[in-house]
């Protein structure tokens, strides 16, 4: 329950006040990387560390992850096709062979069709995700933000004491 409240707090605070639209959009963009690609791959540790260490919205990162994880499941067949096509391109075989035999790199599972396909799709979509998120957030704050902020639900949520830890990650 505590986790759910924390997530909801994170979501609403992210949407309303914490961080500029740029920071939130950057967080969503990085979170989308974790959401779209299979979780247990080494590159997700790097993405998670980036969300935590870079001055982007942590809540945005969690929001991006929450939004894009179901999308990742839905798009797995597409990722599989994209990834397998890339892995089977003759011109890239030398690159993949070198990478496959470099220490630590195989732990990213880049040689798996779904992992590679989803990662490449995320890389291609990262910039559009960033701009769409920024634009959407700016629009939201200008139109519905105030009404939602003054709702009884939001006030109750804000009164919860569970977000202290979360405040460590609030963008400055």
């Amino acid at each position: 329950m505590l986790t759910v409240i924390k997530l909801l707090q994170s979501l609403f605070r992210t949407l309303h006040s914490e961080g500029s639209p740029r920071q939130v959009a950057a967080g969503i963009m990085l979170g989308a990387g974790i959401g779209l690609t299979p979780l247990l791959s080494a590159h997700n540790l790097v993405l998670f560390a980036a969300i935590v260490l870079l001055n982007v919205s942590f809540g945005g990162g969690m929001l991006g992850m929450a939004l894009f994880t179901p999308l990742g499941f839905l798009l797995d067949p597409l990722f599989d096709r994209v990834g397998l096509a890339l892995l089977e391109v003759m011109g890239l075989r030398g690159l993949w062979t070198d990478w496959y035999n470099i220490p630590l790199l195989p732990y990213t599972n880049f040689n798996n069709s779904v992992t590679l396909g989803s990662f490449v799709v995320w890389v291609v979509a990262a910039v559009p995700i960033y701009f769409l998120a920024k634009r959407g957030l700016t629009h939201y704050r200008a139109t519905y933000g105030e009404r939602v902020l003054n709702s009884r639900f939001m006030k109750g949520l804000k009164a919860s004491k569970a977000y202290n830890v979360y405040s460590w990650f609030v963008p400055q």
């Binding site: 001055n55 797995d76 990722f79 599989d80 397998l84 062979t97 220490p103 040689n111 069709s113």
Partner: protein, 609 residues
């Protein structure tokens, strides 16, 4: 004043480190359990049967893993284990782990037991897993390729009508396949010969020789003689090259004819199987000694070969030859598994390598055993390792009834001719009773000598299975024996007095067209008794079965044999003819060359002949 934008959130370093610490703690708590589960799952999928581990402990500081209580279930009998191992110690090479590769320096197994009863039945293999599919395929292979004659019959009805469909006959399929090979061989031979352009070369060289013969060196002058000598030398070089190519074509053609002759033998073997099939439709028992052996021991012997083929195919699937990228199913997970592609590289570690291992039976209660077993070179990419995988075991297991074991396995999946072979001999082993299909009795071989050999090289298979026992006992189902047919009754009378059993089964041919010969010491005794009883009626029926098959395939096979012979004769005539023409014209040119060179000696630099 605008505040400078910060890029890093330094105060989050602490929580991130804490997160890392949590991951480490989670690893320490769950790594062994996860690794145990993954090992069980991976081995189960690879072997197509349930594999259980009682425990798995990773010793990070020693780069070692301890396993205990390994059980590998028999994929064909869920109530028994093929193998149990008390403890397994694995010493890993830590460097390849950085590349996500497992290289085992040394593996020690102890507390080995074979063919033990399971406490709970094993889960069946996933029918859609690669191993599950291979198991089904090999079971189907045994059903489709071997049709053993039946002995359990009553009255012989030689007047029964017999209608055969050509599509049912193996001969028709084998002949169609061979026709294609004959045609492609002919086309390849014709093209090879045409590419040599022997005729134009002989014609132009003959014309040159004639021109040189009519020329007078004195009239040609120094320059003319030199040009004539150059022409002759070049023509001779072309002839020599053509002769070399002709020799290569001759070798290739002879190899192809060998394949065609083997194909004809396969067609003949298919025809023999069709006779058996037709005899089966007439429900005729076969009382030839070899058929009696097949009827009695064909099924149990093919059971052994089928298992060997299954494991050889598993090896072929998981240990491919060459260094090409290799697609495997991705890891099992909530997300789609996808395909994981391996990219092997020369002079790099293979994905999996077991350098050497040994079985230690000296531990525990087995101090009296004199048994050694070692294995090594087991790898997922043999081309990188460059040595075959081997397993050798020999010795004597002590106990009330000692068992002698000799076992050698070799799997060479690199180079031009991948091969898997197994040789095993066990002495003093108590074999389970062998039931005879359709007959109301079985034989208990007791303590026996068992020999088994199996080779798979490409599509070619060969092997043998032998059983020898001097203390067999026969058990009959008394209620069924009371109502047994005449044939069954005779067989029972013959075998009950026997205490010796000698069986030998020989497998040969190809996976697609296998042959099996089974013989036993019972065959002749039973055959003589049965032939005396119903031989005449049976001979009539068998002739009808053969006639029915021959009427459908006789002409086709004869035409095929004629085509092969014709092609072979044609090629064997043409190649020497072409060669003799080249020899003849070369001789003429060399004669002219000597004449011109001799006449111009002193004024010209002579070419080397």
């Amino acid at each position: 004043m605008k505040r400078p934008r910060k890029i890093f959130r330094w105060r989050a370093v602490g929580p991130l480190l804490f997160f890392g610490l949590v991951l480490v703690v989670l690893y320490l708590v769950f790594a062994d359990r996860i690794a145990q589960h993954e090992t069980e799952a991976t081995l189960s999928e690879a072997l197509g049967t349930e594999v259980d581990l009682a425990s798995l402990r990773i010793r990070e500081t020693d780069a070692a893993v301890d396993l205990a209580g390994l059980q590998i279930a028999d994929p064909r009998n869920p109530n028994r284990n093929l193998l149990e191992a008390g403890t397994i110690t694995i010493d890993l090479d830590p460097v390849p782990l950085a590349e996500k590769k497992i290289v085992i320096d040394d593996l020690r197994l102890s507390g080995l037991r074979f063919l033990t009863a399971r406490k709970t039945p094993a889960r069946p293999a996933d029918p859609n897993s690669p191993a599950g599919k291979l198991l089904r395929e090999t079971e189907q292979w045994a059903k489709d390729k071997f049709d053993f004659p039946k002995l359990a019959l009553g009255r012989i009805d030689s007047a029964r009508s017999l209608v055969l469909n050509p599509d049912q006959l193996a001969t028709v399929k084998a002949a169609k396949s061979l026709i294609g090979t004959v045609d492609s061989t002919r086309v390849a031979f014709e093209r090879g010969l045409a590419d040599l352009q022997v005729r134009p070369l002989v014609d132009s060289s003959t014309a040159l020789a004639a021109r040189l013969a009519q020329s007078d060196p004195k009239q040609l002058g120094v320059a003319g003689v030199k040009a004539a000598l150059d022409d002759a030398r070049q023509a001779i070089d072309r002839i020599k090259q053509a002769r070399v190519k002709l020799a290569v074509l001759d070798t290739t053609a002879r190899k192809s004819f060998g394949i065609l002759q083997q194909g004809l033998q396969d067609v003949d073997a298919a025809r023999q199987r069709d006779y058996t099939f037709a005899r089966g439709l007439l429900q005729l028992p076969s009382f030839d000694a070899p058929n009696i052996g097949a009827a009695l021991f064909g099924t149990p012997s093919i059971d052994y070969f089928q298992q060997a083929l299954y494991y050889a195919r598993i090896l072929q699937r998981y240990v491919p030859p060459g260094l090409q990228p290799w697609n495997r199913p991705g890891p099992a997970r909530v997300r789609m598994a996808g395909t994981s592609v391996e990219f092997p590289k020369e002079k790099a570690y293979p994905r999996f390598l077991l350098r050497k291992g040994e079985v230690d039976l000296a531990a525990g209660a087995a101090l009296e055993h004199h048994f050694k077993a070692s294995f090594g070179g087991i790898t997922s990419q043999p081309e990188l390792y460059g040595r075959p995988a081997t397993l050798a075991a020999s010795g004597r297991l002590a106990g009330e009834r000692p068992i002698g074991i000799e076992f050698a396995l070799m799997s060479r999946h690199f180079g031009k001719a991948p091969k898997d072979s197994l040789v095993a001999a066990v002495e003093g082993v108590s074999l389970p009773a062998i039931a005879f299909p359709g007959l109301p009795f079985e034989v208990d071989p007791g303590r026996s000598r068992v020999g088994f050999r199996f080779n798979l090289a490409g599509d070619r298979i060969d092997g043998s299975w032998e059983v020898a026992s001097d203390q067999v006992t026969w058990h009959a189902d008394s209620s069924r024996l009371r109502t047994a047919s005449l044939v069954e009754g005779i067989i029972w009378k013959v075998v009950t007095g026997l205490t010796q059993l000698r069986v030998r089964a020989e497998l040969g041919g190809t996976v697609s067209n296998p042959t099996l010969k089974v013989s036993s010491n019972l065959d002749e005794a039973i055959a003589v008794r049965l032939r005396g009883l119903v031989g005449e009626e049976l001979a009539k029926g068998e002739q009808r079965a053969r006639d029915a098959v021959d009427s459908l395939v006789g002409q086709q096979v004869a035409a095929l044999q004629a085509r092969v012979s014709d092609l072979q004769a044609q090629a064997l005539q043409r190649l020497p003819l072409e060669k003799s023409q080249l020899d003849e014209v070369q001789k003429k040119l060399e004669t002219e060359l000597k004449r011109l060179a001799g006449s111009a000696a002193g004024g010209l630099k002579l070419p080397k002949l």
